[in-house]
Structure formats: C-alpha cells, structure tokens
Amino acid sequence: MTDAVVADALATVHRREWARIVASLVRRFRDLDIAEEAAAEAFAAAVERWPADGIPANPGGWLTTTATRKAIDRLRREWRRDEKHQEARLLYDEDTPSSPGVIDDDRLRLIFTCCHPALAPDARIALTLRMVGGLTVPEIAHAFLVQESAMGRRITRAKAKIRANHVPYRIPAAADLPGRLGGVLSVLFLIFNEGYLATGATTDPVRADLTAQAVRLTRLTRELVPGDGEVAGLLALMLLIEARQAARISAGGELVTLAEQDRSLWDAAPIAEGHGLVRERRAAVAAGDGPPGRFQLLAAINAVHTYAGDAADTDWFQVVALYDRLVRIDPSPVVALNRAVAVAEVDGPEVGLALIEGLPLDGYHAFHATRADLLRRAGRPHEARAAYDRAIELAGNAAESAYLTHRRSTL
C-alpha cells in the first residue's frame, strides 16, 4: 500500500471520526485529557501500522478500539493512585453497543462542554478546535498567531478548569438550550471570521483553513440539532460568504468589494446550498417557527447579494428591510454601520453619513473605510482622504490596506 493512499485514508478518517472517537472516550472515561491523548495515540498508531498492515475494513472502529485500549492502558498505569475509582471506570459499560443516536449525542455533549460559558472565549475556541475539530495544538497556535507553548497552556488550563469544576458532560436542559446553543454558534462564527478576515495574498493556508473548519463544525452541529433555525442560518451565512472567496482578492492581492467582484468567480454549489437553507428558514418562519435570529437575518442579507446576477440588480430595499429587523435584535454600532451602507444605496451617501456620525467606532478600520467611501461619493474628497488615512492606519490585513491605499490614490 502506498504511503499516499494511507495518508489520504487517514486524513479522511481523521476528518470524519476524530470528534466521534474523542466524544465516546469522554463519555466513557469522563476526562477530556485522557480522551484527547488516547485519540491522538490511536491516530499515531494508525500512521505507523496501516502502511504495513493495510487500511482496516472499518477504520473508525479500528481507531475507536485502539484509542479505548490506550486509555485503559493509561488508567492501568495510574491504577495504584486510587484503585477503586479507576476499576469502577473500567468496568462501567465495557461492551456497550454504541447506536448512532448515542454517538451523535456524545459529539453534541462534547461541543457544549468545550463551549461552556464558564470558560473564557479564547479558551472555548481553542478547546473546540482541538477536541471537536481535531486540529493539533501547533496548528491552532499558528492559526491564531500565538506561541505554541501559550496555546498549549490555554488548552491545558481549560481542561483543568472543566475537570476541577465538574462541568457536566451533557446537553443543557431545554430551558438553557437556546442560550447555550447561541454560545456554541458564537464560537463557530468567531472561528470562521478568524479564517475569513485573515485571508489574503500573503496569508498562511492554515489560517484560511479555519473557515473550512468552521463550516465543517457548523454542519456537524446542524446534523445534531437539525431543527434549530439559527444553526441553519449560520451555516447558510458561512456558505454564502465563503462562496465569494475567489472573487474577493484580486491577482495583485487587493481586496475587491462586493460591488466590483467578478460574479462568475463565485462558487455556485455553496451559493445554491445557502439559498436552499435561507428558503427553508423563510418557509419555517412563515409556518410559525418564531422570528428569525441574528444569523438567519445575516444569511438572508447575504442571499439578497448572491441572488443578484449583477451588483446593479441588488435589491437594496430588501437589504435595508432586513437590517431594520437586525437592528431590533442586535442594536450594536457595527450593525448600525452596515445598515447605513445599505441605506446610502437607497437614499444617497449624505443620508448614510448622517446615520454613522457619532457611532462609537473610532478604533474600527471599517468605520473609517465606510465613511471614506461615503464622503467620496458625496463629493467631499478632502474629508474622504483623511478618513482613508485613518482606515489604512487601523487596517490589520494586507489585502485591505492595499485596497484602501488604491482607493485613496483615485480621489
């Protein structure tokens, strides 16, 4: 068997089975550390043995069995430390057949545990990527531009807090579920944004891969909670944003705005899937499924853009109407800023400018970039230049700086 075939099989099984294996080990051994280590050791054993022994008929089963043995080996080594506890752990459900439903619940439990609100947001993201996403500590450190040792400590500390605090390994009670699920979705969206905002000509592929990871984890969450509108909304939102990726950066590494993008470069498959999800949610809301939340509204706004074959065909009235609803559930200044951009398309740049004056966003580059663009369109080049200067000063992304510098030069 060639190494390439084995490597391919390993990558696939890692993507499909990692979370399942870790989740079932956590349920059985009640310890994130043991589960993570045993799962990693099982994959290392596969790397060593599959090239010689061949890929097993059921790779996931082979890995689960191997990981379980590794975990039991570790516990046996530690046995003397408190025999009774460990023995009880080993005896409990030695041969429980795992039905698919139970496994799915395990993965969902794992996601809720990693995104527990008692953990700091940074720790939730890192732990979710490690335990559910299966990224290595160096990969996560790299993606978030943090030292490996610091990322390792962050994850170790999070696991220690979960252990010391007896964070329950379960799906939250019905009353807490919407809030806790909202917390999970925020983590997934943060992962997506970290990858998305980092993308540019000089960006590391590991960072760009975060968007794919976020989509994958959101798909998994949707599989596990299929009826939730916000999960569907977030998945649609990510798909519709990611579909435009190829058109978003020019050959020269400059950011291309939505209005100027070559729409033939958009990826049709994720757009179709995203539109399907938005339609599904619209029908569910019409059938009395409760008002759409933040992610469903953002997805709907993005769908208005992706429905338009040409930027000039964009239904800006629809965009403004959706932002009006979004502002009601999320009255943050960033949403107000984005709404003003849509209003400016309908009522002109001066109206947009009036809406954004005084927003408390002075440290946010997009505020100054938006202001600069509106001032330019309003025929106020001097003020526009000053706003571009400020936006360039604050922009943290190479493609964005290049775009803004170019725009400033055309004033």
Binding site: E78, P117, A118, R163, A164, H166, P168
Partner: protein, 128 residues
C-alpha cells in the same frame, strides 16, 4: 457530590449599613438572602453560609518562624474583600452557576464560584 465555595466581595470600608448604601437596601438584601438560604436548605444544597465582619477587622498571622508575626489588616491589599460566603453541595457546575446567579441577585453582589478539591484531585496531587 462536588462542593463549591461561593464568595461575595464588597468594599474594604463599610457604611453604617455594612456593604449597603441605605438601611432599606440592607434589609431587603438580608430578607432575600435569608429566603435564598432557606431554599438551599430545602433543596439539600446547603452546607454552610455566613457573612464576615469588615476586612479592616482582620489580623494576619505568620507562624512559620520562632515567634508568630502579627499584622493588622487583611492579607491582600485590595479595594474589595470577601464579605461573606456559602459552601454548597450540588451535582455539577451548571447547578452551582444557577445558584450563584440567584445568590448574587439576593445579596446584591458579585459571586465568585470556586470548586473545592475532591478526594480524587487530592490523591492525584499526592501522586504527582
């Protein structure tokens, strides 16, 4: 079941009404906290609870040397000090956090939730 310490913090210097601005506020907080404690008892979560005198009344004792060294005042220099605490015995952190939110509302202060060591974690320490 795991036990947690729920501590409430308050200012170093107190008014005539303890950590509260007015007598009405103090009495309302006492009544609500009393009701909260009764609920903890009823549900079987209660281990211990009490309020502390002002941190200014504290004395730090260092007995590691020949003669104990006494220092007037609290151990940490801080604007906020522990003003009272509960010890609760609950199934898991989610229950502890829910109770902490109720306790915080009742006593009108922020509550820090911290797990006690367990037999298992203590044994792990000994074996480390």
């Amino acid at each position: 079941m795991p036990q947690y310490l729920m501590s409430v913090y308050g200012p170093l210097e107190r008014t005539d009404f303890g950590a509260y601005a007015t007598k009405e506020e103090m009495l309302a907080a006492f009544a609500d906290t009393g009701a909260f404690n009764d609920m903890l008892q009823r549900e079987g979560y209660f281990v211990f609870a009490n309020g502390l005198e002002s941190a200014e009344t504290a004395t730090v004792v260092d007995g590691q040397h020949d003669q104990p060294v006494l220092t007037d005042g609290p151990y940490l220099e801080s604007k906020e000090h522990i003003g009272g605490f509960w010890v609760i015995d609950v199934p898991d952190l989610d229950v502890a956090l829910r109770l902490a939110a109720e306790g915080s509302k009742a006593c009108r202060g922020k509550v820090e939730v911290r797990p006690f060591q367990t037999e298992e974690s203590f044994v792990a320490l000994l074996e480390s």
